[in-house]
């Protein structure tokens, strides 16, 4: 057992209100520079919808992630040989048009325009060329546009849905949708890292955060195509790739990443998972329907004495093990099995997990007015407005079993709480539902608390990283005293 520790995440989609506060927090801190205007390390998508960059989930178009050919795991977009021949021109490279051309407005014109018969306007100006542009799309162009035949109809997750299921998604004034916030998943088997010819991308050994070494990046741009989530971005100005750094300077000082910290819906959870690094490759080769379970099996029980002993042996600090024992992510992913990896079929083993939404709408407009789909208090999950198959395409590699499991459990917890707080449902009925959903009263209480009553300390269990000690072992802290510090001492600039 080769135990490693990974800072992992859970997003609870039923709580996301789609306010984009996370995206703005991130943008203000990290991507407000020249060349990064178009990047959204954190973005929030409307589902069904095409997302950002457009239709990123369609790997026939983008070639991201891994393919398992028999006993081999290979990147779809590149290989050792292909790197040699494709290094000059990457055939799977998305371009700015797949994202959008960033723009601002010519506000000065409002002040400087000569006097005339019309009000002056502030025209949109490209932030790349500085020339006026016609704005035709943006990073969030299909926000709340589920149901639209232009955007939502192109969602790759609609593959395999029956006409009836598709109609179900756009019934009642076309109002069914949910939000899907995304950051880099800091994967266990990152395609970006494996594709980088320069070895500039790496996973931090101590906490699993995936970083891109700016001084080693040479703009061969293999990572851009390899990441199936399209979460490595190309800075066209500096000629370097950039990506989400999980706010490591914040995490190292005990603060949650900015997108977590600012999350209005409190949907985000952060904590340590211990995992077995030795099993990754074997697990990543399994057939699609086994992948969710395979990834779960890599996650180790931090209270198991054997795991603790092995973790200590691989140099994991006791404080990190203790933090893993309190990890909310462990509960959601492994104990309760409520949270699922997005598109596990890309085989990167994303370490950001989602609790799929138990979408609320239960009524339909019929001939006589509004009719309930179900006579039950909470609708039957199989007649939910978001078809199970759609969620399965997103969170179960197309297989419904794992998704049905989490939705049933979530529903049972709601019944149970309804029985306790309102009392119009029998407690025995609620308890029976819990049993049928593979749960029990204690677990339901715990799920309820961590979902609805969670404090900041419940949501973010950040392990101490002892970075200061680690750095002292490598460098003499006095060496740079009264100097200018260390690291990049010049602003990142194109060319010499």
């Amino acid at each position: 057992m080769n135990v490693r520790s990974q800072i992992s995440m859970v997003f609870h989609l039923d709580k996301c209100i789609g306010c984009h506060t996370c995206s703005i927090a991130c943008k203000n801190i990290w991507t407000d520079r020249n060349g990064t205007e178009y990047m959204w390390w954190n973005n929030v998508e409307t589902k069904p919808g095409t997302g950002y960059p457009t239709a990123w989930e369609d790997q026939n178009k983008y070639n991201g992630g891994w393919a398992a050919d028999g006993s081999r795991l290979r990147l779809k977009s590149t290989s050792k040989t292909q790197t040699v021949f494709n290094i000059f021109h990457n055939p799977s490279m998305p371009t700015m048009d797949d994202y959008y051309e960033p723009w601002t407005y010519d506000y000065q014109h409002l002040f400087n325009a000569p006097e005339g018969p019309d009000q002056p306007t502030a025209r949109p100006i490209s932030m790349v060329t500085g020339e006026p542009i016609n704005v035709e799309s943006g990073p969030n162009w299909d926000d709340d546009l589920s149901g639209s035949p232009i955007y939502a109809a192109n969602d790759p997750n609609l593959a395999g849905l029956s006409e009836e299921e598709k109609a179900q998604l756009s019934a009642i004034e076309r109002l069914v949708f949910f939000y899907f916030p995304r950051i880099c998943n800091h994967c266990l088997n990152p395609a970006c890292v494996a594709s980088c010819p320069s070895g500039a991308l790496y996973k931090r050994g101590e906490d699993g955060i995936v970083l891109l070494d700016q001084t080693r990046c040479r703009a061969w741009r293999a990572c851009i195509s390899a990441c199936p989530y399209k979460k490595v971005f190309f800075n066209w100005s500096t000629g370097k790739s950039e990506k989400c750094i999980l706010c490591f300077p914040r995490v190292e000082t005990g603060q949650a990443p900015a997108c977590f910290h600012s999350c209005v819906g409190r949907i985000r959870y952060l904590g340590v998972l211990l995992y077995d690094a030795g099993g990754i490759e074997r697990m990543a080769r399994l057939p699609e329907e086994e992948l969710v379970e395979a990834q779960r099996s890599l996650v180790l029980d931090p209270t198991d004495p054997q795991v603790i002993a092995a973790a200590r042996k691989s140099g994991i600090h006791d404080a990190v093990i203790e933090s893993a024992q309190r990890s909310p992510v462990y509960k959601f992913v492994k104990e309760w099995k409520l949270a699922l990896p997005p598109h596990v079929e890309f085989r990167t083993f994303p370490m950001l997990f989602y609790v799929p939404p138990l979408a609320p709408v239960m009524a339909n407009r019929g001939a006589t007015g509004v009719e309930n789909v179900s006579q039950d208090l909470f609708h039957d999950i199989d007649t939910a407005r978001v078809p199970m198959r759609f969620l399965a395409n997103l969170f179960g590699a197309g297989h419904e079993g794992k998704v049905r499991y989490t939705l049933r459990k979530q529903k049972a917890v709601r019944w149970y709480r309804r029985a306790l707080t309102v009392g119009d449902v029998g407690v025995d009925l609620a308890e029976r539902m819990l049993r049928e959903a593979d749960s029990n009263v204690e677990e339901a209480e715990a799920i309820y608390r961590l979902t609805s009553l969670c404090t900041v300390d419940d949501r973010y269990v950040i392990p101490p990283m002892y970075r200061e000690e680690a750095i002292e072992m490598m460098r003499d802290p006095l060496e740079h005293k009264q100097g200018v510090g260390f690291g990049l001492l010049r602003g990142p600039r194109r060319g010499m």
Binding site: N2, K80, T83, V84, I87, F88, H89, N90, M93, P94, T95, M96, V128, T129, G130, N189, P190, V193, A194, C196, P197, S198, G199, L201, Y202, K203, R204, G205, E206, Q214, T215, R216, C217, R218, A219, W220, R221, I224, F234, W236, S237, T238, G239, K240, R312, K313, S314, G315, R467, A470, I471, M473, M474, L488, R490, P492, R493, R494, G495, M496
Partner: protein, 236 residues
């Protein structure tokens, strides 16, 4: 007159190469050390994808073959001369070299047109980029011109230019062969030194950092502040 010519020859074929190589090594190394960040291929594919293919690919395939040819003929001139002993082999070599030169030229012209016409690409084009591209254009045109006008280049390069380049390396410059070269060939040689001179300041440094370790390393990369397992005294 002859005095003046010798003087220029000394300047261009003795002083210039030494200055160029000295600057090349000094600046490349110090730049790598102090400004490592600036070593990048500065790709512009993200901003324009279609013309990119038709420029960058032919240019690189062409120039890499041609440059490799120059280096090989410099390293093993005798074997090249032996190869050229048979007319058929000579024709094969000359025709492929010329084809690669033309490929380079086509690629270079189309990537220059791209830099000129696509507005997004103009934003990421510096003056130095133009210096490099124009020098390359002059170099490729004079190279292709030499190949056409003065056959058989592969033979006389091995017999006359290679010894000169070796003499430079051995710090004992010998201009016997060079002095008699036609102006076009002289121009081509001087162009090469000029390129070596601007090389370390320009985007050309990307050639120094081609990522060969990728071919041998394991796919996944982890970096540790400490060696894994170090705390327990047992590296994993």
């Amino acid at each position: 007159m002859t005095n003046l010519a010798t003087y220029f020859d000394q300047l261009l074929f003795v002083a210039l190469p030494y200055v160029a190589f000295f600057v090349f090594f000094l600046v490349s190394i110090t730049r790598y050390h102090w400004r490592g960040f600036t070593y990048s291929s500065l790709s512009s594919q993200f901003l324009e994808n279609r013309q990119h293919f038709w420029g960058l690919v032919p240019f690189h395939y062409g120039i890499i073959v041609v440059l490799t040819g120059h280096v090989v003929a410099w390293l093993i001139p005798r074997q090249v001369l032996w190869w050229n002993d048979r007319p058929l082999r000579l024709y094969i070599l000359e025709i492929s070299a010329l084809a690669c030169g033309l490929l380079t030229l086509i690629g270079l012209v189309s990537l220059m047109l791209r830099r000129l016409t696509v507005s997004k690409i103009r934003v990421v084009t510096s003056k130095l980029d133009w210096v490099v591209l124009l020098l390359l254009l002059a170099q490729v045109v004079s190279g292709v011109g030499t190949a056409v006008l003065y056959p058989w280049g592969s033979s006389w390069y091995a017999a006359m230019a290679a010894p000169y380049l070796w003499s430079i390396l051995k710090l004992n410059p010998d201009l016997t062969y060079i002095a008699a070269m036609p102006p076009l060939v002289k121009f081509h040689i001087v162009g090469a030194f000029a390129l070596i001179l601007v090389f370390p300041f320009s985007r050309l440094v990307h050639i120094l950092v081609i990522p060969n370790p990728y071919l041998w390393r394991k796919p996944q990369v982890a970096r540790w502040y400490r060696a894994p397992g170090e705390a327990a005294g047992e590296p994993v």
